[in-house]
């Protein structure tokens, strides 16, 4: 696939926002359980505002993906069948609950935990919807795996928690070491899951090949002409056009950027008690996740590409 930056930002921003909310909610729950020291009262509403901002930015990014953004309202119609439609419902719902949760905290209303439970549930639903948009296309074999969901959840949570840790550190809130430790743990988990999916995808045997694509049983089939020479939607949308070397480079970049460097920076930040390092960890991690998502799309080899191999 040819990675679309609108979708890259949509999924990464959403993931971070969702992770941030989950982190805030877990803090709230653990505080309620007496397991953590309570943060300052403004921390939750501020966090919620950032979550809504991130989700809003993601939503905005997604509009650039559309040919007719003015008709975006129509997208809720097919929630019975379409994960995309479901995402479009889940996202504003989640945003609304987060906003309500933040507002309730701001107003110091009771029952925030209950709203938080609803938010967390919606958050998971949103993760499911977002991930399933990709995982449900069964012939995009790189995506059609539970690992897609796991990765979306873990990478979203990791970046969200890193952001929480950084925010907490910047605001001199309590619990920074715990949050940093959570972040490191999630990044490690994310790394394990992402490596698992890389390992899996490297061993994928494409179920479609030229034999099944044109229905001729022969070991040597080569396309000579795709039927047009100046490109088409099919060649622009589904081919990234980069050399294999670029892909490998991006892979190492995101392994370093989304995982190794953030871990190092988080560890260093924790050791040095440096908010700046934690903030840097988040920035690097987010950039790494953009690379990760670019790779996620680029690596997906669409079977339609079998039909678009050569001009002559």
């Amino acid at each position: 696939m040819n990675p679309a930056f609108s979708v890259i930002f949509l999924t990464t921003l959403l993931g971070t926002g969702q992770g941030l909310f989950l982190a805030l909610f877990v803090i709230e729950a653990r505080v309620a359980a007496g397991l953590l020291e309570a943060p300052s009262p403004v921390f939750y509403p501020m966090g919620a505002a950032i979550v809504v901002l991130l989700l809003g930015a993601g939503l905005l990014a997604s509009f650039f993906h559309l040919g007719h953004p003015e008709r975006a309202w129509r997208t809720a119609a097919m929630w019975r069948t379409s994960w995309l439609s479901r995402e479009v419902i889940a996202l504003p719902a989640f945003m609304a609950v987060v906003a309500a949760w933040g507002w309730a905290h701001w107003q110091d209303w009771p029952g925030t935990l209950l709203i938080g439970v609803a938010g967390a549930a919606l958050c998971l639903v949103l993760f499911l919807c977002t991930a399933m948009i990709y995982a449900c296309i069964k012939f995009l074999q790189e995506w059609a795996t539970p690992l897609t969901l796991v990765n979306f959840v873990l990478l979203g949570c990791a970046s969200g928690v890193t952001l929480t840790a950084a925010l907490a550190a910047l605001r001199r809130e309590p619990n920074v070491p715990e949050l940093t430790a959570w972040a490191i743990a999630l990044i490690v988990a994310g790394l394990v899951a992402r490596l698992a999916s890389l390992w899996r995808n490297a061993r994928l045997k494409p179920r479609s090949n030229l034999q099944t694509a044109i229905g001729i049983k022969h070991s040597r089939i080569v396309q000579k002409a795709q039927g047009f020479m100046g490109g088409s939607f099919n060649t622009r949308e589904f081919f990234h056009g980069r050399a294999p070397g670029t892909l490998r480079l991006v892979k190492w970049l995101f392994i370093a950027g989304a995982f190794l460097l953030p871990i190092a920076l988080l560890a260093a930040g924790m050791a040095a008690d440096s908010a700046a390092l934690l903030a840097a960890a988040f920035a690097v991690q987010y950039a790494g996740l953009v690379a990760e998502r670019w790779f996620f799309f680029a690596q997906a080899n669409h079977p339609q590409n079998l039909y678009y191999q050569a001009v002559s």
Binding site: G67, A76, M78, I214, S232, Q304
Partner: protein, 243 residues
């Protein structure tokens, strides 16, 4: 239930592209139009087409087959492009199984194209909606046309009649018969999309020559004094031995 479809006979397709441009011609001014073309007179001309003819080489010299392969929307019976559409713009008509896009509902998110393994949907770069083969739905029911012409433009155009059109759920239709009798197959059966369009494979007619077919009593060489009968006086065993 009706399922209209094309059956493409690779045995006779010579790769002339008649189906490609007749489709464009009909549809750009039709209900599914326009179909834009970018850089029409510049570098890398590119445009919106519903149908393409591709060429494959199968095997190695000298045992090479050149296969011309027309491809358009296969109107799957279980079309993966339809359920993913968030707006319902992409839909399959219950009455005849044609998969269509409602341009007024389409938001141009391209998700349906991602969900099609065959690469037969093309976003129009200017109208910004997804476009695809409609089986010329604005022709095939047009009562103003004579019955024989209520067919997709590509089918009418095809000089080798390599494109058959009909209802694959009707056992007696020309397409069902062709699929049955000429081993029609679907593309990428591994995904369970059940394409309505089918393809008929190459068939090879061979001639078997029996040795004795080269020897015939009426060989004209005999008339012209070649392959003569031996003369009565020519030497024979009768001349030399008595056993």
């Amino acid at each position: 239930m009706t399922q209209l479809a094309l059956v493409i006979d690779l045995n006779v397709c010579v790769g002339c592209h008649a189906c490609v441009t007749s489709c464009k011609e009909w549809n750009t001014s039709g209900e599914a139009g326009y179909m834009s073309d970018d850089n029409p007179y510049d570098r890398d001309p590119t445009g919106n087409f519903f149908n393409r003819v591709q060429t494959f080489e199968v095997g190695e010299f000298p045992n090479t087959q050149t296969v011309h392969f027309p491809k358009s929307c296969l109107h799957c019976e279980d079309p993966p492009c339809v359920p993913v559409c968030p707006t319902g713009a992409s839909y399959k008509r219950p009455e005849d199984g044609i998969v269509l896009v409602d341009y007024d509902k389409c938001i141009g998110c391209k998700y349906c194209a991602w969900a099609c393994p065959y690469g037969v949907r093309e976003l129009d770069e200017h109208q910004k909606v997804m476009k695809k083969c409609t089986l010329c739905v604005d022709r095939i029911y047009d009562a103003k046309l004579p019955e024989s012409e209520r067919k997709p433009a590509c089918v009418l155009a095809c000089p080798t009649s390599a494109r058959l059109y009909g209802d694959i759920h009707d056992e007696e239709s020309v397409v069902s018969k062709a699929i049955r009798e000429a081993a029609g197959y679907a593309l990428m059966p591994e995904w369970g999309t059940q394409p309505a369009n089918h393809y008929l494979p190459r068939r090879k007619t061979e001639m078997r020559i029996h040795e004795d077919e080269l020897e015939r009593a009426d060989n004209p060489l005999k008339i012209d004094g070649r392959l003569p009968k031996p003369g009565v006086r020519d030497p024979s065993l009768d001349d030399v031995t008595s056993w």
